[in-house]
Symmetry: C2
Subunit: 565 residues, 2 copies
């Protein structure tokens, strides 16, 4: 590394304090982030401001995105923005028989660099991504359909937070054993003690595969990417064909930093598929692939878990998220909070509530008792009010990510009595964008045909106001839903200590993350890195949580060399 | 817990300092153990001395071993000591449809007790087992066939160490997040900060299954048992039908302690099978079983990994252990060390070397160059000398654990030129014991028919002196063996820094634990808890290592409850 521009000393000077703060925060779970959320915070210290970010994005459109990877045997790509325009970018297509062996070449030096240097290199990658957050925001917006502000925050600093969090966990896990040789001396009574010298080296498992998703390419992609890289594994990124650009930019930055730090840039590569090629399946069962991170459909997640037996497989699949509405002392706050949760990114988050369980006899509130019909009507009015202004609606909803979501939304109106109809919103800047407000459908929880609707995931801006016999009935339905369908989030509103305790018990027993009585500016569908766990890894919605020890500890093994002292 | 005899305060007074020392030692990897290795250390502080331990063991023989478990629908058992006598003990047979639901009943209180109380209860169980080490030694001896001293140490303090180590890892892992509620406050510029109160609870996954082995029922059983129990899971122990007693005693102690501490004793139960019943397969795929720990054959381990998809599966299977002999500056020490490794417990350890790779042109030593034939003859002489005295041979070898081992030993002599023939040793105390010294067979590594022998596991007192073209050839064969067959241990002797580096590189790349130039009183087949890793979890011999973060971190999940502050 003598000739590297980025020495470990230089990297430590820049990033060691950030790493230390991350290590402290994953223990306290307090609020912290090193990456600014405000667009105006960028433009100094070499970071791109709004205009420069937009210009950088535009200069990438309609070009060939070269990465100088081994085994490039053609070019592919056909992303079209959910806002309308085609991106016109071509990405390298890889011959896996050339690419994968080339990725292993740098693994020994990456291992020998040690946990700290690997962490610091990862932090430099994140810092450079952070500096280009404005550019990434456009890339995320025009692949996911998120509105700009959300693409900026969730696709930028929040994704970078999740990446940094994974690096911190990975570093902590690898440094549990002493670096360098440790002495070991076992007393033998009057005889000389037995003495050995022992050395412990964290070693990566092999090539890691990140399978990206359409809706949150960076936020869902970074934890696995950085956890694997920080634990010594090369990483091949297979983006969703509709959301290549944000991860292609990420891979490019990673390769630049690795090279500058004296490592093989092929430790991070991109594998984009030709239309219909299905390389995720091909890659997933290659013997070189030892780790897989996946976010997406339950069907393919289950397939990976069953078939990629040579790999450690971390999946975030789909669940059915529930909110139990029992009672509240802040009726307006509850309605406003729920309305926002249902509207944000047109409900296209894996954490968006789907089933609102409301007793058919109504609930008690600070504004007097409210019947089931009143609660549903008031919630519909709250959503309607929140999205009444088209400019604000566009800013919250973004665009529907693909035609399947639109089709589900349209079909949902036929499932029951529509309490709030979806309406089309025009986006003046992008007239081809498909923008829709959420639909709320009333269902009778006791009717078997209604169950077919609410007891499966309906991804998109669709929620069901399910009438139940009682809160006890709601809790039983909640339990069954989490156990059989999984849940990324559970919400509940109650003023009763007993009910609170009962819903907690269900969530503890079924391993679901619970938000209680949210009435302010935090929403059930949002989690903060370093503090909140995303998913639990203990119910069918996901087999892993972001981020915990289990997410990183099996990405490497510790090899011990012991010598006669 | 107010009425419990063992309050958390009392448990903390007794065991907190031991836990703290264990937590410190898994970081320093220094030598430490709270459980005495010397038989004479017992007999004070309520522990059983040699005579009392033997008497306790004898009082158990030819009795019905009642555990007062729910769902007992009959009695079964038919253990015969490898030393000859039938144990004559009957154990409860369980109706799983009654037993398993009963085991879940106490899970909530066990979860609510918290990580520290769970750890302290586990330490009390271990302390009571420790006090009865003399009794356990007889139980292990007369099920595994280990000689008494080995059964005492490996089945007693060393097994207890591994259990305590797992408790320490489990405690550390669960206390990464704050106990109790933690505040979270996110600044919002001029507006009020967003504030939440957050609570993190480690929750067990469900019932854990421990599938015991014949050779090391306690040593291989305790890590999984205590890791699962300490992380909040009930544990059902399914012992090997030939080695029930050591784990039945363990379950009885655990149930006593749980009850005294105010918990449901059914958090730990025993499931013994009727002859040929095969309940491991039945249990392994029951939906209630969420964790499985297994030690045994590769075939059944692979079956568990493929079929018990509802559970986290931790397996220690079989491998082919190699020693590379390149050169030495202590020829006598090397021969003595290897002779002991091959002889201990008649080679019936998953860590015993099988293939000794020796260059056909010989090696350099402090006693001059030694040809391949000389090295093999000298090793044969060293083993012969070590085991020349029948009393010492009996003390080292123990008895063959079952007829399969004897059959393999007898067949091995036909695989090549016998450098050291196995001989029958008479055990005057147990004339029916099958005691055999190891066989060493010479094989030409370049011959395809020889490969069929040395390239598969031959469990028992059989080793192959494999001639290779060169040390480089040996390293290539080592790499292929670890990659394709797995290895629990690798040994190497060399005076060359380059060769040392090369063998290290193979072990780092293939994830195998390496012992270099052992010539004293530490043997390649032994590992010390708190310091050495047993297996790596990164090659086909085992998917987990004893003990590391990955061994415990996925046995529980952290459920977060966040509330509007």
């Amino acid at each position: 590394m003598a000739t590297a521009q980025l020495t470990t000393d230089r990297l430590a000077e820049k990033h060691r304090s950030t790493l230390d703060q991350a290590l402290a925060t994953i223990r306290t779970r307090a609020y912290w982030s090193p990456y600014p959320e405000h667009p105006k915070a960028y433009g100094t210290d070499g970071s791109l401001d709004a205009a420069a970010g937009l210009a950088a994005h535009q200069s990438t459109l309609n070009t060939r995105f070269d990465l100088d990877q081994p085994g490039t045997d053609g070019w592919t790509g056909g992303e079209t923005s959910p806002y309308g325009p085609s991106l016109g970018i071509e990405y390298p297509h890889a011959d896996l028989d050339v690419l994968l062996p080339a990725m292993r070449a740098g693994m020994g030096a990456w291992r020998d660099a040690g946990a700290e240097t690997r962490a610091l290199v990862c932090l430099e990658i994140l810092a450079r991504i952070s500096a280009r957050t404005h550019e990434f925001a456009h890339a995320v917006m025009h692949t996911s359909g998120q509105a700009f502000m959300m693409a900026f925050q969730a696709g930028g600093p929040h994704a970078q937070d999740r990446g940094l969090e994974a690096v911190a966990y990975a570093y902590e896990e690898q440094t549990r054993t002493p670096a360098g040789r440790a002495g070991w001396s076992k007393p033998q009574g009057k005889r000389d003690p037995l003495e050995l010298s022992k050395e412990f080296t964290p070693v990566g498992r092999g090539i890691a595969l990140v399978i990206g998703c359409n809706t949150f390419p960076t936020w869902n992609g970074y934890p696995g990417l950085f956890a694997s890289l920080a634990t010594g594994n090369p990483v091949v990124v297979k983006p969703h064909p509709r959301a290549v650009l944000p991860l292609a930019l990420t891979v490019r930055v990673a390769r630049e930093v690795l090279a500058e730090a004296g490592f093989d840039p092929n430790l991070v590569t991109l594998a984009v598929e030709r239309p219909g090629e299905g390389i995720a399946k091909t890659l997933a069962v290659r013997p070189e692939i030892r780790i897989i991170d996946y976010t997406g459909s339950t069907a393919f997640g289950d397939w990976l878990e069953a078939n990629a037996r040579q790999a450690q497989v971390y999946t975030e699949k789909a669940g059915v998220n529930t909110v139990v509405v029992d009672s509240t002392d802040d009726y307006k706050g509850m309605l406003a909070n729920l309305a926002f949760s249902l509207s944000l990114y047109s409900g296209q988050m894996c954490t968006t509530p789907q089933n609102l369980l409301i007793p058919r006899d109504g609930i008690t509130t600070d504004q007097g008792p409210k019947s089931y019909d009143e609660v549903v009507a008031d919630l519909a009015a709250a959503v309607g009010g929140l999205l009444g202004d088209d400019a604000r609606a566009n800013g919250l909803l973004g665009a529907l990510v693909n035609p399947d979501v639109k089709a589900r939304l349209e079909a949902a109106a036929g499932l029951g009595e529509v309490a709030l109809a979806s309406r089309e919103v025009v986006n003046p800047e992008y007239p081809d964008a498909v923008v829709r407000t959420p639909v709320i459908v009333k269902l009778d929880g006791s009717k078997p045909d209604a169950q077919a609707a609410y007891f499966s995931e309906c991804f998109g801006p669709v929620s069901f106001a399910v009438s139940v016999d009682s809160t006890a009935d709601a809790l039983e339905l909640l339990r069954r839903t989490v156990r059989e369908k999984g849940a990324m989030t559970v919400g509940a509103y109650t003023t009763s200590a007993d009910t609170e305790r009962a819903v907690e018990e269900v969530c503890l027993e079924e391993s679901a993350q619970l938000s209680l009585n949210l009435t302010g500016g935090v929403y059930v569908n949002q989690t903060a890195a370093f503090s909140d766990f995303h998913g639990s890894g203990g119910n069918p919605a996901a087999n892993a949580a972001l981020c915990d020890g289990a997410f990183v500890s099996n990405r490497f093994r510790v090899v011990e060399v012991r010598r006669q002292a």
